[in-house]
Symmetry: C2
Amino acid sequence: MRVRWAFEEVGQKYDVRLVSFGEMKEPAYRKLHPFGQIPTYRDGNLVLFESGAIVLHIAEQHAGLLPIEGNARSRAIAWMFAALNTVEPPIVERSMAMMLERNQSWYAERLAGLEERVRVRLRELSECLGDAEWLDGAFSAADLLMVTVLRRFSSSSDLGHPNLAAYVARAEARPAYQRAFADQLAVFTVSQSKA
Amino acid sequence: MRVRWAFEEVGQKYDVRLVSFGEMKEPAYRKLHPFGQIPTYRDGNLVLFESGAIVLHIAEQHAGLLPIEGNARSRAIAWMFAALNTVEPPIVERSMAMMLERNQSWYAERLAGLEERVRVRLRELSECLGDAEWLDGAFSAADLLMVTVLRRFSSSSDLGHPNLAAYVARAEARPAYQRAFADQLAVFTVSQSKA
């Protein structure tokens, strides 16, 4: 979804090649992605992995996802790293525990700790965003990544901060987001109907 | 350490301003870093946070930490993201559990799961590195970040793969690393003698 959305924002056509869970762990795929994950990106001889790096590459190749002025550009990249390294990890840890540890004796106690970590990060993010429309000036690749991180919550009311929920809603209202989402949903619908 | 090392690699002088744990959570510091962490970077009017973004910024401003050729440069940036988003998170989770959960009833069972996650990542990284000197061609900001991630283990024998231990040792032998490490150690020694 991150890569689709980035392509849509810059108006660049792309082809999708779906990969099964089994295929991801095969040696042939690991030549593209050493850790056997998705997404990967291919353009001629260039193969990239890591969604953050792919979005940054697209943003560097095409106008529309990074400010042109140098300092603003560097700040947007700092927010890209913050989305993936500071905000996302506790959210992923919480989701993983909810999937993998829910039948363990320690679940309730550990979940409380994980939720507190998430709450702290969301509060800090909410305070920093305030009434601003986007993280730092115009919409950028940083907002694209941050919104995909925040969308890991099943409902935006779970974010606990109306300004963060409104921020996600603003991003979701973008035509590029809507095109990417519709295309992603179409793939999911087809794969469900085959299953 | 990441930022010091990057400055040393490109031969750029820098000043250090130390921040106490208390100061990091103060509103004044949060204007520099929304999540109240270190490091931050300041150059004139530009303020950055997130060590990955700061290292990337330094690498973009000065020669020596990123390949000049476009595809190689993008691949190095992909490895920077991989170090921080794919390899580091399970290592940090394991360290945090070892600090915070060691007196919990679930500790042994949970630690086993965390160690397995780390082992998988290190095996994948070891296979990908093979006999190569660095991750992708010449030493780059990607190696700088990856090595600081791998150095989170107290001993390089804990990495479980001789080629990863040798990779860390090669990086530590670099004069720029040694200057950065000596300077970092000097700060630590002074703060210990004050305590």
